[in-house]
Amino acid sequence: MTVLETVPYDQEEISGGMHRFSVLVNTLGTSTKTNEKLDALTSYFQQAPGKDKVWVIALFSGRRPKRVVNSRLLAEWSREQAGLPPWLFEECYHTVGDLAETIALVLPSPESDSPEHNLSWYIERLAELGPLPEVEKKAFMLECWRELGKDGRFVFNKLITGGFRIGVSQQLMVQSLARVTGLEASIVAHRISGNWEPALVSFAELLSGEGMSEDHSKPYPFYLAYALEGGPDSLGDPVEWQAEWKWDGIRGQLIRRNGQLFVWSRGEELMTDKFPEFNPLLQLLPEGTVLDGEIMPAREGKPLPFALLQTRIGRKNVTKKQLTEAPVAFFAYDLLEYAGNDFRDIALEERRGQLEQLLTSLHHPVLLLSPVITFGEWRELERIREQSRDKVAEGIMLKRRSSVYQVGRKRGDWWKWKIDPLTIDAVMVYAQKGHGRRSNLYTDYTFAVRDGEILVTFAKAYSGLTDKEIGQVDHFVRQNSLEKFGPVRTVKPELVFEIAFEGIAASGRHKSGVALRFPRISRWRHDKGPEDINTLDDLKKMLEMYGK
C-alpha cells in the first residue's frame, strides 16, 4: 500500500480553501528558505481540499484558466469601487508593479467575514463567466472582491491575470508531492507533466496515473544543467566528457507516439502548431520516439541568430512569409525514448550512439544532429569555445559520457559553460521608478551611445546594481532631473554604465537601429565620463559581427 491512499483527498465539504491557498502563496512568496517552502507545499498537499490541490499543481506549472476578463476592465471596475481617477490608479500600479496586487490594495476593505469558498469554486465560477455579458462578469467580480480579504483578493485576481511566479520551482513542487504520496520524484514529475485537464481529474487519479486516459503527448521532465563557474579543470579527465555547442534557441522535445507528432517546449508548452516544418517527421520517425534538442532558426543546416525567430514565435498562426524568412530546424542532442522504451537510465554515450544512427538513417533537412565537439585537452576546448559566437552558440555544454538523463536542474553531470556577454559603455539618459521593487525608487534606466554630438538611446535595463548603488543612482536622478514625462525623468547624461547583453539584432523599431537580447547593467563605470562612452558606430560593428 502506498502512502497515497492514506491521504484524505477530495473532501469537497471543506471550505475556506481560498484562504489556505492565499496563505500558501504568501509563504512561498516571502520565505527565504527552500526547506520552509517545501514544508509549506507539503502541508498544503496534505490538508487542502482535493480539487484545490489539482488546481494548485496546474497553476504552479504554468497552466491557467482561460482569461475571462481583460486587464483594462479589471482596472476600471476596481478604480470605480475605490473612487480613484485613472491617473492615480496608474500611479499606484506603477508603484506596486503588479495589477492583481494593486487592485487588492486599492479596493475598499472587505464588508464582512463571510466564509471564503474553495479555490476550485472560484476557478469554476470564473470558467462559467466566459460567455456571459460584461455586466454579469462585473457583478461577479465585485461580489468576490467584497467577500475576500486583501490576500484573498490578490490570489483571486492572479487567477485572472495569470502568472503565479512566486519562487516555487517545478522541482520543489514535485518533491513535495513525492513526500505526500510516497512516490518517486521522477514518476511524479512525469505524471503531472503533459496534457491534462485540471477540471476533469482528481488528485488521486492524477498522481496514481489511474483512471487517466493515457496521454501519449507527455514529454519527459527536462534535465537542466548548472552553470560552470571557473574553468572545466575541476571536472577531471576530459576523456570522460562530451562537449557540444550550447544553443540559444528553444529547448524542446520532439515526440512521436500513437501515430501523432508533438513538439513541447521546456516551459511545458505544446508548440506543435507553431512549427509546421516538423510535420513530415511524423512519417519518418519510428513509433515511440522522444528526442531532446533545440529548436533554432536555420538555413541549409546552419543555425541562425535566435532573433530571427522572435517575429513568428508570438503568432498564433504562422504565415507562409514567416516560414520562408525564418525557417527552423530541430537540433537533436539526446534520445529519451526509442521504440517505445524509456532510454533515460541508459548512459549518454549509448543514447548518443543510437541517436546518431537514427538521424543518419532519416536524413531530413529539418531534423539535424547537434554536433559533438572533439577536443583533447581542456585548454584546446577553451580555444574552441571562443568561436561560440561565430557558431551562433552561447558557449559549450559539457555532459558526462556515463550520465543518465535526470529530472530537473542537477549538479554533477551536465554543465553549461557560457561565454562572457558582449558589453558596451553607455550613459544613462532616462530613469523611471521601478516595478515591483522598492516602491519609490528610480530603478529602470534607459541608456544611450554617442553619435557625433548627439546621444542615441539603444537599451533599457534595470537589473545588475546593488541596493546601495540603486540608492545612489536614485539620489542622482532626483538631483539631476531635466524634464519629467509622467513617470519618466530625463536626467543629465553623466553616469556611465557597462551594459552586457547576449545578442544583437537589427531593428526598425529602435532609433539606434539595433535591438539587444537580455541587456543588463554589468557594472557602474565610475572611472568613465560621458565623453568616454561607446558610439553608435561601435554598436553597428557589433551588429555586423554578431547580428547576422
Binding site: 516571502t30 481617477p85 492615480l88 515591483g436
Partner: protein, 339 residues
C-alpha cells in the same frame, strides 16, 4: 506680502521670526519637529523642540543649546507666535504652529493619525497654510489597525518560539522599536535589543517614559541564552554578521513599505509587518481636511501625486522639493555610531 514660511536652500524659513524649521544646514535658530535624522541635523546654534525630543537630540547630536517646551506652550520669537502640538509620529514629535499678523501656518513634520499609545495623539490644528508630509501618499497605503498588526506580530513570534527559532524584529530605533517593544512585552518578560535601540530606549525611560526595559546584546551575551529569544534590531543590522549569533532565527521587518509584496520579497525577510509611523492615504486626507487650510504644501514622499489629487478635489496644493528623505523608514541614524 511675503509668505510666513519660504522654502530656502537651508530649509523651511520663517523670515519675520528669523528661524528655520528642521533645517538641513547649520543655522542660528532651529525649531525641530522630531529627532529623525532627516529632520534634526547637526550644527545649528540653538534648537527648540518638545521636551520628549530633547534627550533624543542630545543622544544624536551631542551637547548643545536645546530649549525644551511642552505642547501648547506659547513662545514669541521676534514677534511670531510659536507653539508645538502632538504629531503622533514618534515620542517627542510635534507639529509647529506659527502665527503672525493674523496668518497661521502649521508644519506637520512627520505624523500619523492613529494613536499608538506612546507618541501622543495627533491633533488637527486649524490654519491657513499646512505643510504636510506625504511619505505614504498613495491609496495603496491603507494601514490595518495597530491592534491587528500587533496580534499578527505576536502570533508570528509565538510560532517561531514553538518551532525553536529566535525572532528578530527589524525596526527603526526611534519610534518603531518603542512600539514593537510595547507590543511584545505582552507576551514576554525579556526583550533583547541591538545597542542602537537599547540606547534610545534607555534615554527615553530615564526621561520618564513608561516603556519596557530592554536587555542589551553585547559580545558577552551567551549564545545559549538567545535560543528562541525575541530581539529588536535596527535596519542597519539586517543581514550583518551581528545576527549570526541568534541562529536559528527568522526576521520580520516592521515598516510601512512592507505593504507591497515586492518589497517584502526584495528585503529577503521571513515576514513583513506594515506597521508605520506615518499617516496612510486616508490619514493624510483627513488631516488635510481637518486643518481647513486654504493652501497645502506637500513635502517628502508621493508629493506630486498627493498634491495633484488635492487640486482635483478643489484644495489648493503645491509640491515642494525638500531634502527630507523619502526612505526615512529605512535609514537609521542612531545606528552603529553611538555604540
Amino acid at each position: 506680502m511675503q509668505p510666513l514660511i519660504t522654502f530656502t536652500e537651508y530649509g523651511l524659513f520663517c523670515q519675520p521670526g528669523n528661524f528655520y524649521i528642521d533645517p538641513w544646514l547649520p543655522v542660528d535658530k532651529a525649531i525641530i519637529t522630531h529627532a529623525h535624522s532627516d529632520h534634526a541635523r547637526w550644527g545649528s546654534k540653538e534648537y527648540l523642540c518638545h521636551r520628549g525630543c530633547k534627550p533624543l537630540l542630545e543622544l544624536r547630536l551631542g551637547a548643545g543649546t536645546y530649549q525644551p517646551v511642552e505642547w501648547g506652550d506659547i513662545i514669541y520669537v521676534n514677534g511670531v507666535r510659536v507653539s508645538l502640538h502632538p504629531a503622533g509620529h514618534i515620542i517627542g514629535s510635534s507639529q509647529v504652529r506659527l502665527e503672525y499678523q493674523g496668518e497661521t501656518w502649521v508644519v506637520s513634520g512627520d505624523y500619523k493619525t492613529e494613536d499608538d499609545g506612546i507618541s501622543g495623539a495627533f491633533e488637527p490644528i486649524r490654519c491657513h497654510s499646512f505643510i504636510t508630509e506625504s511619505t505614504f501618499g498613495l491609496p495603496i497605503y491603507d494601514w490595518e489597525p495597530q491592534e491587528k498588526i500587533y496580534d499578527d506580530m505576536r502570533s508570528w513570534v509565538q510560532g517561531n518560539r514553538e518551532s525553536g527559532f529566535a525572532s528578530i524584529l527589524i525596526a527603526y530605533s526611534l519610534g518603531k522599536a518603542q512600539r514593537v517593544s510595547v507590543c511584545l512585552s505582552a507576551i514576554t518578560e525579556k526583550i533583547y535589543a541591538h545597542g542602537a535601540i537599547a540606547n534610545a530606549q534607555e534615554i527615553l525611560r530615564q526621561s520618564g517614559f513608561n516603556l519596557p526595559s530592554l536587555t542589551r546584546i553585547t559580545p558577552e551575551t551567551p549564545r545559549e541564552e538567545l535560543k528562541g529569544a525575541i530581539i529588536l534590531a535596527p535596519p542597519s543590522a539586517d543581514g550583518s554578521s551581528w545576527m549570526r549569533k541568534f541562529q536559528p532565527y527568522r526576521t520580520g521587518i516592521c515598516s510601512g513599505w512592507m505593504q507591497v509584496r515586492g518589497n517584502r520579497r526584495r528585503r529577503n525577510a521571513d515576514a513583513g509587518f506594515a506597521l508605520s509611523d506615518h499617516a496612510d492615504w486616508k490619514g493624510l486626507l483627513k488631516a488635510v481636511h481637518e486643518t481647513g487650510a486654504e493652501k497645502i504644501f506637500a513635502t517628502h514622499g508621493f508629493q506630486s501625486a498627493f498634491s495633484r489629487y488635492l487640486n482635483e478635489q478643489g484644495v489648493k496644493a503645491y509640491e515642494v522639493k525638500t531634502d527630507y528623505g523619502d526612505m526615512e523608514e529605512e535609514n537609521d541614524s542612531v545606528g552603529d555610531s553611538t555604540i
